[in-house]
């Protein structure tokens, strides 16, 4: 259900969903998307500062009209407390990636240089492989992933994005859907 087949286009939506921290809630939330045939592009879940609640950050690539219907249906779930839709233009989005890349002695220097340029960190070193950690805006991760492909990606894992509204001088455009 979570696919990296295509990056979200300009139409992608970020839903920040505050839910009760209970068994089965994630299944309720994700099945609502599945029922309508919407592909969840990425999804990140973790408890909030209040342990009774978790925040689910969902990136979904759909037109806004059907999304309105999904958010309304989501809000009907008893365990969903609050839904905010974040406009990607007005949100800070971050994602973490760890990746193991082939780094033969001949190319290792180039890989390390690129890791430096992207402000990543080497977290593990093997004889001919490096494992790199990189956090940042999802597009930066895309670029880095693309560059690493030349050297041979052995394994890669991304977390899916988390997001918060930008601190605008005016009111933040955090729209509550209810």
């Amino acid at each position: 259900m979570i696919s990296h087949a295509a990056p979200p286009g300009a139409r992608h939506h970020i839903l920040s969903v505050l839910v009760e921290n209970k068994a089965g809630v994630l299944a309720r939330v994700s099945s609502l998307f599945a029922r309508r045939g919407y592909n969840i592009y990425s999804l990140a879940v973790a408890p909030t500062d209040d342990a009774r609640f978790s925040r689910i950050t969902i990136v979904v690539d759909v037109e806004s009209t059907p999304l309105e219907q999904v958010t309304k249906q989501l809000f009907k779930l008893i365990s969903v407390v609050k839904i905010s839709e974040l406009d990607p233009a007005d949100a800070v989005e971050r994602e973490l990636m760890i990746l193991t890349v082939s780094a033969e002695p001949g190319t290792r220097g180039q890989v390390i240089e690129l890791v430096d340029v992207f402000q990543g960190r080497i977290v593990d070193v093997g004889h001919d492989q490096l494992t790199v950690e990189l956090a940042g805006p999802p597009s930066k991760l895309d670029d880095f992933e693309d560059l690493m492909r030349t050297y041979g990606i052995i394994a890669l894992q991304r977390t899916g994005r988390v997001a918060l509204p930008k601190l605008e001088r005016q009111a933040a455009r955090l729209r509550t859907v209810s």
């Binding site: 839910v19 089965g24 299944a27 099945s31 009774r52 309304k72 009907k76 365990s79 407390v81």
Partner: protein, 578 residues
């Protein structure tokens, strides 16, 4: 006070005011059945768990109180899936308790294990697996709260055996009853937005062709009185959808009756040509709108619903109002009065409606010749005319359902019980039993089809054993009639798998075998006497096998996928009709 989980569960139901429950025991739910012996709650033992679910629905339809059903794990639970889906579609308050295998066995493919929480996730308003005996009172209280507030619906509570089994240490609990529910994510909006209500009142004051489009939400909100006041105050005519029959009296001069695929011409066309639709607790169902793109093209929309997800789901409203129908209608009445603007001259519109009503009434032809064939509509009218005015009428799904909705006169709310959204064949017999249990002083007639009857007829054994004197009229046309109608009209009369036979089974003998009085009626002359005899029997169920004309079709009809401008009035107009 120390209780075991099973005792706590039954005590919680008592605390919720449950007087009757419908169910069938089995392995996993066994420990909960033991304390029932000591409880004042009446338990009605069904013959199939689907029956328990539909009885609970019928009870809820007729009384407005939540229906309660209890079944065991695995097949018991899956057998009640259809009633849950039905209650979800028609917003019926219902609490279903399912047994589950012991906590330690969950996920091991244990005997009679089924992940019923997963199965019913999308067909319940909420469901919950209880993991500790101590949680039982809280979860039951939440279940009733969720089922009955906001937009009502079914809630399923899944109970693992170990937390209710007195022989298991997990079942120990200290009894308590919570002061209130704490559901941070569940706060239904009751009161409409005042500015929107003012907008609605202004829009009403400018409309010359308005129609009130009343849906099942009127009945759920107990808003029939408020609706009547609004209609009389503004003089606006009312259509009542299949789920709202009885929400506004059919005898009222402003009542236009049922709209939709088999609605009457005036109701359909009034909506179609209106300049303002005031949708109150209705959801623009496809059976009402026909082709959505062509539905009521000139109408502005005021849409009132307690469920925000209904607003804009099908048709974008000009004035959306989230709130309880009763609260909003009462506010709207106040606003219309305060606004003080006289209602515009609608005499042309009223005159037009009268012309349509006079020109295109519902009709059928009953012959009285010796070899006359009995018309199903005539049977319905005869039952109607020979039964108390507040009779509760229950139907299954198909032609007989549409004829009943068309030809009965619904003058009181909560006198019509049917499966609208899901269209569940076999609904009528168990739902009628549930309605009669909830309203023992009222006459309850189920108007059923022969196809429907065969799906759940075994519950008449339950009714006979429990002395629940429902009356069943089978409109026996020996066919899956509605399917046959579609095959006749849209599949070039190629009848595929729709013939059932009038004599197999022998309904009279079957009824008698189940402890009911069985009758057979074949000629129009015999109908009234049979109905009167049925109405005089009050100690057991009655089944009448009406042998009706298999050729009879439901008209008017708007063919699926076409616009409501194309109402087929009768066979002379139908493609392939004859």
């Amino acid at each position: 006070m120390k209780l075991n989980g099973g005792q706590a569960l039954i005590k919680s139901l008592e605390m919720e005011g449950v007087e009757v429950m419908f169910g069938l025991p089995g392995g996993a739910i066994l420990p909960v059945y033991d304390p029932i012996i000591d409880s004042p709650i009446r338990h009605i033992l069904v013959r199939h768990e689907q029956g328990a679910g539909h009885m609970a629905e019928g009870y809820a339809h007729a009384t407005g109180r939540p229906g309660v059903a209890m079944v065991t794990s695995g097949p018991g639970a899956t057998n009640i899936v259809t009633p849950l889906a039905d209650a979800m579609m028609d917003s019926i308050p219902m609490v279903v308790i399912t047994g589950q295998v012991p906590s330690g066995a969950i996920g091991t493919d244990a005997f009679q294990e089924c992940d019923i929480i997963g199965v019913t996730r999308s067909i319940t308003k909420h469901n919950e697996l209880v993991t500790s005996a101590q949680d039982i009172p809280r979860v039951i209280q939440e279940a009733f709260h969720i089922a009955t507030t906001g937009r009502p619906g079914p809630v399923l509570v899944d109970i693992p055996k170990d937390i209710v089994d007195p022989n298991h240490p997990n079942s120990a609990m200290e009894w308590y009853w919570p002061d209130s529910v704490d559901l941070p994510g569940y706060k239904p909006t009751v009161k409409g937005h005042p500015r929107m209500i003012r907008e609605a009142a202004k829009l009403i004051a400018t409309s010359t062709r308005p129609v009130i489009y009343a849906g099942g939400g009127i009945l759920k909100a107990r808003a029939a009185e408020a609706l009547r006041e609004l209609a009389e105050l503004t003089g606006i005519p009312v259509v009542t959808t299949l789920m709202a029959r009885g929400a506004f009296p059919d005898s009222h001069p402003l009542c236009l009756g049922m709209p939709g695929m088999h609605g009457n011409y005036t109701a359909i066309t009034a909506m179609q040509q209106s300049d303002l639709l005031i949708a109150l607790g209705s959801r623009f169902d496809d059976r009402v709108t026909g082709k959505v793109g062509g539905f009521a093209p000139e109408a502005k929309i005021i849409h009132v619903d307690v469920d925000p997800a209904e607003l804009g789901k099908v048709r974008r409203p000009d004035v959306p109002i989230v709130g309880d129908c009763k609260a909003v209608i009462e506010e709207l009445i106040r606003e219309v009065r305060e606004l003080g603007t006289p209602q515009p001259d609608r005499s042309a519109w009223d005159a037009q409606l009268k012309v349509w009503q006079a020109t295109y009434p519902l009709h059928y032809d009953q012959s009285w010749a010796d070899d006359a064939v009995l018309k199903p509509q005539f049977c319905i009218e005869t039952i109607r005319d020979n039964s108390p005015e507040d009779t509760i009428v229950v139907s299954g799904v198909g032609q007989h359902q549409m004829w009943t909705s068309q030809f009965w006169r619904f003058n009181h709310p909560y006198t019509w019980v049917n499966s609208g959204g899901l269209g569940t064949m076999g609904f009528a017999v168990p739902a009628a039993i549930g309605a009669k249990v909830g309203m023992p002083g009222r006459t309850v007639w189920a108007i059923d089809g022969d196809g429907c009857f065969q799906m759940t007829a075994q519950e008449l054994v339950t009714a006979a054993a429990e002395r629940i004197p429902v009356k069943i009229a089978i409109l026996n046309n020996a066919y899956l009639g509605m399917v046959r109608q579609w095959q006749e009209l849209f599949y070039e009369e190629r009848y595929s798998e729709v013939y059932l036979s009038p004599d197999l089974p022998d309904y009279k003998m079957w009824a008698e075998a189940m402890g009911c009085v069985g009758m057979r009626v074949e000629h129009p002359e015999e109908v009234a006497a049979a109905v009167e005899k049925a109405n005089s029997i009050d100690d057991r169920p009655v089944v009448i096998d009406f042998r009706v004309d298999w050729r009879e079709k439901v008209y008017p009809m708007v063919a699926a996928g076409t616009s409501n401008d194309q109402v087929i009035l009768g066979p002379e107009m139908g493609e392939g009709g004859h």
